[in-house]
Symmetry: D2
Subunit: 342 residues, 4 copies
Amino acid sequence: MTHKIAILGASGYTGAELIRLIATHPSMQIAALGANAKAGQSMATVYPHLRHLDLPDLVTADEIDFAKIDLCFCALPHKTSQEVIRDLPKDLKIVDLSADFRLRDPAEYEKWYGNPHAAVEVQKEAVYGLTEFYRDEIREARLVAGTGCNAATGQFALRPLISAGVIGLDDIILDMKCAVSGAGRALKENLMHAELSEGYNAYAVGGTHRHLGEFDQEFSKLAGRPVEVQFTPHLMPANRGILATTYVSGDPQAVYAALRDAYADEPFLHVLPFGETPSTHHVRGSNFCHIGVTGDRKPGRAIVVAALDNLTKGSSGQALQNANLMLGEEEIAGLTLVPCFP
Amino acid sequence: MTHKIAILGASGYTGAELIRLIATHPSMQIAALGANAKAGQSMATVYPHLRHLDLPDLVTADEIDFAKIDLCFCALPHKTSQEVIRDLPKDLKIVDLSADFRLRDPAEYEKWYGNPHAAVEVQKEAVYGLTEFYRDEIREARLVAGTGCNAATGQFALRPLISAGVIGLDDIILDMKCAVSGAGRALKENLMHAELSEGYNAYAVGGTHRHLGEFDQEFSKLAGRPVEVQFTPHLMPANRGILATTYVSGDPQAVYAALRDAYADEPFLHVLPFGETPSTHHVRGSNFCHIGVTGDRKPGRAIVVAALDNLTKGSSGQALQNANLMLGEEEIAGLTLVPCFP
Amino acid sequence: MTHKIAILGASGYTGAELIRLIATHPSMQIAALGANAKAGQSMATVYPHLRHLDLPDLVTADEIDFAKIDLCFCALPHKTSQEVIRDLPKDLKIVDLSADFRLRDPAEYEKWYGNPHAAVEVQKEAVYGLTEFYRDEIREARLVAGTGCNAATGQFALRPLISAGVIGLDDIILDMKCAVSGAGRALKENLMHAELSEGYNAYAVGGTHRHLGEFDQEFSKLAGRPVEVQFTPHLMPANRGILATTYVSGDPQAVYAALRDAYADEPFLHVLPFGETPSTHHVRGSNFCHIGVTGDRKPGRAIVVAALDNLTKGSSGQALQNANLMLGEEEIAGLTLVPCFP
Amino acid sequence: MTHKIAILGASGYTGAELIRLIATHPSMQIAALGANAKAGQSMATVYPHLRHLDLPDLVTADEIDFAKIDLCFCALPHKTSQEVIRDLPKDLKIVDLSADFRLRDPAEYEKWYGNPHAAVEVQKEAVYGLTEFYRDEIREARLVAGTGCNAATGQFALRPLISAGVIGLDDIILDMKCAVSGAGRALKENLMHAELSEGYNAYAVGGTHRHLGEFDQEFSKLAGRPVEVQFTPHLMPANRGILATTYVSGDPQAVYAALRDAYADEPFLHVLPFGETPSTHHVRGSNFCHIGVTGDRKPGRAIVVAALDNLTKGSSGQALQNANLMLGEEEIAGLTLVPCFP
């Protein structure tokens, strides 16, 4: 059986990445592509790398007959997404890639995003979309909230450690290196090639990045007490990839065992042999996450490094993985692309 | 039915690219991976981006039982390849990715490569592997000689024009921009990141690049008279991609029509609407070739620009396409990966 | 004696490059920096790499007292520049970096730029700013029109050949590879890192690039008859550099001799030994232009490759070189920076 | 008075960078260039970006008459350097850029570098070359040991904090992002463009990087007790630049004040306004170091980010700064190059 799929926000990078993945999916068909500002254009115009695919032209969301859609991906900007989803049919399965339904507490949402939530009722339905940790809920969900790409990377490195109680909770540091596509296709000066290539810098230093809301929510829930990490993102001269270097206190072998055990059966999360470290090069364009653990020369200190592709495992790949669960398909369908190296 | 595949030279970039593609192939299984210098190592060590695949360890060519192999890809260096293939079983189907069997005339081979051919008898069997133009021969072939990546790009732009007689044959200029992976994984100073990134240069200027042997052979055969093009390659700060900017004399609309007609039914060769130009960005990681035609302000002059990925359509993708034909599989099997953008 | 310098359009890349160069000039002082849209800001805010310099804050052009200025660089956008310069004091020495005063014939200007010229009287005064070929006129000029960066590169490769009569005039082809900073700091989708890095494409194919107006004007004047070249620019994943690969008919040794003789005493134009080819890597950040000549295997065909930094020799370095002449300073003052490699 | 300068190891990146800087120095003349493996070659061959300079050809160290040399830079590989310097005249002023004379304790040297020191007597003479903190000793020194590039960056961020007693000493974390030229011009697979561009990874994780020897030595000396930091370097897809993200416990305003006060009069160390963060883009090709301080949302935690160019301030620029002091020249001579952006 072929599922009819709609994508809203198809003109952004996560929209294009969804199409790239779904094109290899055995039982999904793209039935509608929404992009209000570019409605009427073909995908070949907006993304020439998709020109060989037989895709519908872009339309406005209003033009889509959602009664004929089995599942809708919303790859819209934050804030727009909640307004659009609020008005979609209440029985439509939705995977949202924005930040709008990630935080359970509307007050937390308003704290991090600066505006009151416009669809609080819908928010209550949403399931947090970190597949490996919310599989059962996702299978039953109508609305799944895709995680932040940084939030996914940090959680893959840290959740099993918090659950297993093998690390201290008060001195966790996440130093994250993020490729530029995470910022989307919007025109900003610091994202220009001439401004970015051959250099790098920290940004949102000091605990101001919005993905901290997700870390706080999830880590505190796991630990059963408030957990606040330090998290500093850095903008890298690269298009795809997140590398999280995580500094924790705890026995390195216990840390390693916790991760290895937690992910032993996961198709996409690979824990490297102890002492090896991953690279974003080796997950590019794929749904894999590589994780490495090393002990520091300082006793009782461990470093966990996690690498994934922000557009795939950090966003559109995760979304497709969740959609597979919601539709009763094999979880890995359309997601077995080998990383593209070199 | 699943075909058992061996790859010799699996530790190079074209070997790794073959594995990336075959991993998605519905009816091929990698049974043996040869790499003499790295025999004994796992592919996960040599190429960590392949670590999730269940692959045999690297072995020497001697250790492979070719009686159990249905088809062997040889991704060995030039000159080594002919010596190895000479000694392989005479009924083994082989797709060679080196330069060793491309030229029909041993004298031409010696002129361009500087040494006498070591397997002239085998060379006589070889079929030139430019799939779209040698399909019938390839289907019947035991040994197919993969083309040079530059040679493929230039021929896609020019062959239909020579066949249709719509361009002059004495003033063809091919200005080619080549990504660095075309030079392979060998350690050379000019291929280092610090030497290459953020700059570019011409090389092999003046008609000395070995792929000219292929252009001469193929274009002269098509035209029924000697044809010598000018061809200048340039090294680009990028990992994948060839862009050929071709300057020809002829009516631009006739040039366009010849290309459009020749490739109307081709699954991988896409002629853009007249006046549009392709980009290597939009074919990266895929088996597609995009071709654009524009008329110059000077009457009777046309510019044909062709873009492909040197590792895929220019090498390993072409090799797999040929192997599909030789094994009676669907020609596009394992080759429908969407380009990876951004 | 220290000359007081103003720069209008100081917030663009060519403005910032002027400041970088003038900071090492022994007898120039930056007295005013104009940038209407960013007036009131400090240069440290707009360009943090200049933060250690003691520079005036940005102001509007109206706020500058030009009576106290010895020479004004105009690094404004095309069309804006002519309107601003029209209203500046008539005795103010000006080096304009825009396209507005390059073409002698207002009809040609309108043909290439699409609007009637707004300052035709001022245009009559302007001297074409290709220093090495207009030194005497520039020394006496009040207004010098900086050349296009592509136009400079192509002319360095070709002018001596046309003057010496050693090449055919009807089949000149300029295939040019241009770094992204040539497009300025304006926000455009194709200039984003995610869109540009790791790929390349031709643009303005077919004889539509505006710098052709300069080539036509200058080459025709030199030849004493109309000369129209073919010129195809390509956008490169790099921040600085232009590489012009020039295909001409003529005896390669005669071509080489013409260039070597013409530039024997030039401080910034270096002709490499016959058969060597330049690279943009080796002129980055400097005012040098490297030129190489090679003969093709086809008799009577030569390839001339020229490399320079579009922001320096192609724009701001040229402008400073001209200003030095206009102010009676040593021509190379402030321009002896060694290329920045790696 | 013009000082006659020799450079041993002139064919490496730090050698070439020294030449780039000295070319603008008012009172230094390069009298001899040593490079044993490339002796007999011209610098124009080895580094075409230096072709316009009037430089002596490369010779072996034996061929240099050191009696005519006022100061010698040794830019040789580790271990080779100590053997060469041991045999140089005992009254020759030397600035060494290798690791060989950085550590005061021969046992520490052997621990980090794996071999006994071959010139222990000479080592006793050496002064640690972190200019801003050892000025008086450097002025009187015969032999100055240039610091590691990572070691310099980390010390600029942390020394004033340790001296002022404003941070905890037991939980200092240095997450460092290092450009590829820091690894030199040697051919290594992971430094190839195809392996490095568009991705990044940690290396020497867990406290194994040799620059830790310098951190331990210097920080412990400052603190008057053993101090061991955690230090994780990362390899970046860029040619120049180090960014150190430093996590410390302490009052952010006190941290800021300590840095601002310590560097108030330093010509090359710039502390940004509180809350701003530096970028390697803005120091590229220059001798500047930009430092920013931010407080974390977690009380009592501060983040200090420092950016410099590893080849300039991290190595050759530092070396020239020290040579200026040793020769009685102005400390900033030859070092006022403005960063090259974009």
